[in-house]
């Protein structure tokens, strides 16, 4: 297997272009008595080479959806297909870039990046080294290859994590609120960086976020989830031209998308907010009455 080149001239290399289908996927937790459904009958298709952004109020079950697609959990009903085949447990075909950062703190940036191929042993040493160096250069971390994650700034950590995922040549890249916790400005720079990276290779991407602007500027399709349990509330196709520029966010179309999304999301968020309050009230009552 020849290592995939990330040269700009070959944006149509076959790997990284999986097609993911979710068919009536549901997932809940707890025994029958106190069962809570978290994901309810979600059907989605993530087209190859497209970036699908999933947006929903916090705590609506987005992370569960990520866990299901990544294979950390299995759905109770429904199927998840990758290129027509049902997915099993976690695999490097579906790499996850986690919320905050999940770099191994005891490995340097370089060691972190080569971790996956090295433990699988599916890449010749030399090719692996070359690719890692190339990737490090691409994410602008060449100088930092021997630093530990704790020595990197938030933005650098995210870039290192991206590189670590990409080197495994996944058919689907899953991003679970990858830029959460960064301050707004670093976040914007990271979004720009990620946009360039995506447009160069067009890997199939499932991008979960709670920020609408981020979703609009990055995505081809915008999936809006309802409040818990998560259902697909609406899918908006974003027809902004590629390559995208950040200035496009100021365009009229972008504002229309934003307005439409905001309407739906605000409604859902309000629902979740008021529900949170009352559920919490009930919960507290239950706990304190149990305690006394």
């Amino acid at each position: 297997m020849k290592p995939e080149t990330t040269a700009a001239g070959a944006p149509t290399s076959a790997s990284g272009k999986g097609r993911i289908e979710l068919q009536h996927v549901s997932k809940g937790y707890g025994e029958a008595w106190e069962r809570q459904e978290v994901v309810s009958d979600v059907s989605l298709e993530i087209a190859p080479g497209k970036l699908t952004a999933v947006v929903g109020p916090s705590g609506c079950g987005k992370s569960t959806l990520v866990n299901l697609v990544a294979g950390f959990e299995s759905p109770e009903s429904g199927r998840i297909l990758l290129n027509g085949r049902p997915v099993g447990g976690p695999s490097h075909e579906r790499m996850v870039v986690f919320q905050e950062t999940a770099l191994m703190p005891w490995l340097t940036t370089y060691q972190n990046i080569v971790f996956g191929p090295r433990i699988r042993g599916d890449m010749p040493k030399k090719a692996l080294h070359e690719e890692a160096v190339k990737l490090l250069d691409k994410v602008g971390l060449s100088e930092f290859k021997d630093k530990y994650p704790i020595q990197l700034s938030g933005g650098m950590q995210r870039r290192a994590e991206l590189a670590r995922a990409i080197i495994n040549r996944p058919k689907l890249l899953i991003m679970d609120e990858p830029f959460r916790g960064l301050d707004a400005m670093t976040r914007e720079l990271m979004q720009e960086f990620f946009l360039r990276l995506f447009e160069e290779n067009r890997r199939t991407n499932l991008f979960v976020t709670s920020e609408i602007e981020e979703a609009i500027i990055l995505a081809d399709h915008l999936v809006i989830l309802s409040n818990r349990p998560a259902r697909v509330r609406e899918v908006i196709d974003i027809d902004l031209p590629r390559p995208r520029e950040f200035a496009m966010l100021g365009s009229r179309e972008a504002y229309q998308y934003k307005r439409a999304a905001l309407e739906l999301l605000h409604e859902e968020a309000m629902k979740s907010f008021s529900e949170q309050q009352s559920v919490q009230a009930g919960l507290i009552e239950a706990i304190s009455s149990r305690g006394s």
Binding site: F72, P105, G116, Y148
Partner: protein, 285 residues
Amino acid sequence: MAVAASGTGASGGGLRRLRWSALKRNAKLWRGAAAIALTLVLWECGSRASQQLGMQLPFIGLIPPPTAVLAAWAEVIPQFGYWESWYLSFKRVLAGFLSAMVVGIPFGLLLAVSRYCREIFFPPFEVLRPIPPLAWVPASLIFWPTNELSIAFVTFLGAFFTIVINVLGGARSIDIRLLRAAQSMGATKWDMFWRIVLPASLPSIFTGAAVGMGITWEVVLAAEMISGGGTQGGGGLGFFIWNSYMGGSLEQIVVGMFSIGIAGYLSSSAIRYLGDRCMPWRRLF
């Protein structure tokens, strides 16, 4: 249990880097020095009060003054017996401590990794844990053929429980995202253990080791005093103290106490140093 490594390490490391000008302004250092000096002076005066004033102060009047202690110390330093007791105590501490590490770390990790092992082995472990290690001394004296072995066994027990609890806690609290990341990159069970679980629990292993080391010293000392107490014990610093007590040499008791203090401090610094070497990513805080 994080008490052990709090203050000294930071100020010790910082000292080297400070320039002289900064040192002069370092109020903390001068205050500390002043406090220690004042304590020594008070101690000296208090102890000598009986000679000077003809009246003995309670408690402190019974303790020899620091100058007398220093004199006694100077006297024992050239003696072979004094250093031999250092050597013997260190040997015992090391034997008990190392065996506790060798058994405790794998055991703790096993409990963390396997649910069945945890459910089966943890309850008896929890039943035995509250028994103070020293309560085992007589039983172990009867059980083991030699004194040396029984001391080693009790020392082992003292450190063992602490290490296991720390390792177990550390390994159980690994961030699930790390495990998941490794999983999706295709890590086998074996990889997960060696490349994730082990390095991730290193910090707690070292915390456990530092605390365990403290307990080990206590236990060795007690065992030397209880078992060796003068008859067939093979020396050691505990014996040195007990012997001085029997011989009525108060100065030597205090010398022995400070010697053990230094020995304990040295061994915990050694662990801290080792921890820094083994965990370069933690050094950068």
